[in-house]
Symmetry: C2
Subunit: 390 residues, 2 copies
């Protein structure tokens, strides 16, 4: 069967769905791999290395004839219209934000796998692109903060005096948050963190950071994710966070609730009591923002109370794509591992009774197989049993 | 006596010669401090904090009436023309690059102290601005590299495979180079380093990096600085460095020879064998460049041999100014410590017989007191005894 690897078409996207390393794996399972010339160029993988790994290089991928199309960004309707019925697609799909494309995939009879839907099981970890890309994002956002902070992260004891370490506050301690904690610790900052989930305190402490306990109920959802707080509790949470934010040189927010807009953890009034030069990084800016006023891809100066200067509010955008070599390396392995799970004798034959395969499937044979997406698409489906919140 | 602290006038300069903390020290020694409004704004020190520290805020500094003028960047001729005879100035002077200004300082009867000239003695360490600003530069250039590298610095062992640590090569292991080594190690990179000075091997090893021994003679100069290599040895050094550069993901060059252009350590042909996406940071770009083709303040893509993509050659510029809060904090302490050494009963009265005070003096009472600068200014002075190379 023929696996297609395309040049991503979204402007600014530098990742690629296969690397020479993942091509070797795909070829070893008996698949033919076609790579569009230049597909890996922006990520640092030259065409020659794909050829050496056993891929066929093509000037333009013949999307109509791919048995399997791999991709990074969610497909657009134009691409879906070119796929033959029965084609398999594997990549990020962001179904909640792309319902018309999901409908197109369904109507075109595509068997689409959305990497976001890979269940959080230990045997599926190697296919979990949310985790692999969050690892990149968590590391990256600390570099972004350190670059903008007019101060050092580490403690320095010099002949001209002692410089105290920067104080970094991480809100949301999922994969990205824990990685941000680890990276800020590496760089020598004093790190504290908060999360609404009960299990977070131990995880944060195990990274060497101080866990902030607020007098707010915990909110644990399915699959280790957080659930939404009621507004009165969210307001109380913000009020209790205020002194911690004002004491920080860097605040990094990473809170996400699957299928919902990002929770508003920080109001703009909470920023105006910070110290001049401080930096606030909103990793959730693209999904609604944890911080009031953040704009994806923009640095916004926020004036402080009392004419004390400004802080910088940074809305992150395309974070994983900013480190495309390693982000692609992990992502491509996620893709090839999922394909390997479905490949028998050189044919990709999904066994939908497999919890991982069935769980990751978004559309198949003219139906939307992911229950929450199906419900979101059909208002009348509100009476159906609700699937797991993902 | 009145100490003036000005807003720096050089575009892009964000540092300031006094901080609220250093003002406290100056006031405690009996000096009056006038701070131009907004002088610390870009560095993150609001006017109000200077006032609290005991400074007088002025809309425009009355340069003609300052007893002592403190500054960061070398003074320009226009400012010097406004100073009253006998005024004391303290700041960076870059005399070798600013001979006309030195002549103006001499002719105006200014007692100027150049922080670059502070002797490398242990009791003068707290006044050594080259060291304090190199600390900032060394830390900063690693962040600049990490931001541009499409890969992680640390080793990661993930469910989707192991990512090896980035390989960082530091050329030149002075204060900035050692700080770059330390910061790259903190971030988890595998670090190696090279320097022509004999003492470097132990210093590099003590930071946890691998010292690269090349079969080239060492070149130690006065004050712990390096001296220039003869061209045949420099060529051999480049040839021996080539495989180390090609094996690196990040190369950081920090080599400087006092009073001379930066040594050329890396030819552009040596870059074309690197791997796609690699990053080369030339910290010496402003003083001639360690790397052929580097341009201060620019990122230059260098195409690799064999159509294998590009690397990025980064010429650094105004590095310390990019972290103005802590850079100013250290710099201001260097300035106030030198002033404290010269202050008796609230009067700045330099004792030129003090090795530190005399050494740091550039001009006094109508003469250029720094011998190498004097020689550079007067071609006929070639017959005078040569001062220490600084």
């Amino acid at each position: 069967m023929n696996i297609g690897v395309r040049r991503e078409i979204e402007p600014g996207e530098r990742r690629v769905a296969a690397t020479p390393e993942s091509v070797v794996q795909l070829v070893a399972t008996g698949l033919d791999v076609s790579v569009e010339r230049g597909a890996g160029a922006a990520a640092g993988y030259p065409d020659g290395e794909y050829a050496k790994a056993g891929a066929r290089l093509v000037d333009t991928l013949d999307i109509e004839r791919c048995d399997v199309l791999t991709h990074v960004r969610p497909l657009d309707a134009g691409t879906v219209a070119r796929l033959a019925p029965g084609t398999i697609t594997v990549g990020l799909a962001a179904p909640a934000a792309n319902l018309p494309v999901v409908a197109a995939l369904r109507d075109a009879g595509i068997t689409s796998f959305a990497l976001e839907l890979v269940p959080r099981l230990s045997r599926a970890q190697s296919m979990d692109a949310l985790t692999s890309q969050a690892l990149v994002a968590g590391y990256r956002c600390v570099l972004e903060a350190a670059m903008r902070l007019p101060r050092f992260f580490p403690l320095y004891m010099t002949a001209a005096g002692t410089i105290p370490p920067a104080r970094v506050l991480v809100l949301g301690a999922g994969v990205a948050g824990l990685q941000a904690i680890a990276t800020a610790k590496r760089l020598g900052a004093r790190v504290s963190a908060y999360d609404v989930r009960a299990a977070s305190a131990d995880e944060v402490a195990s990274m060497g950071a101080t866990f902030i306990s607020l007098d707010v109920d915990t909110a644990d959802g399915a699959g280790g994710y957080a659930t939404e707080l009621a507004e009165d509790r969210a307001a109380r949470q913000r009020e209790l966070l205020r002194p911690h934010i004002e004491a920080a040189d860097v605040v990094i927010t990473t809170a996400a609730i699957p299928g919902k807009p990002a929770p508003r953890l920080v109001g703009s009034d909470m920023l105006r009591g910070m110290r001049s030069g401080s930096v606030v990084i909103d990793l959730a800016a693209e999904s609604g923002g944890n911080v009031e006023g953040s704009v994806p891809g923009s640095d916004i100066p926020i004036p402080l109370d009392g004419d004390r200067g400004t802080i910088t509010l940074v809305g992150m955008k395309d974070v994983a794509s900013a480190m495309p070599y390693d982000a692609s390396r992990l992502y491509a392995k996620n893709v090839s591992n999922l394909l390997a799970l479905m490949t028998v004798d050189g044919e990709v034959v999904p066994d939908f009774t497999d919890e991982v395969v069935g769980g990751a499937c978004l559309t198949h044979d003219g139906i939307v197989t992911h229950q929450p997406t199906l419900e979101a698409m059909s208002p009348s489906a509100g009476t159906l049993e609700t699937g797991l919140l993902r």
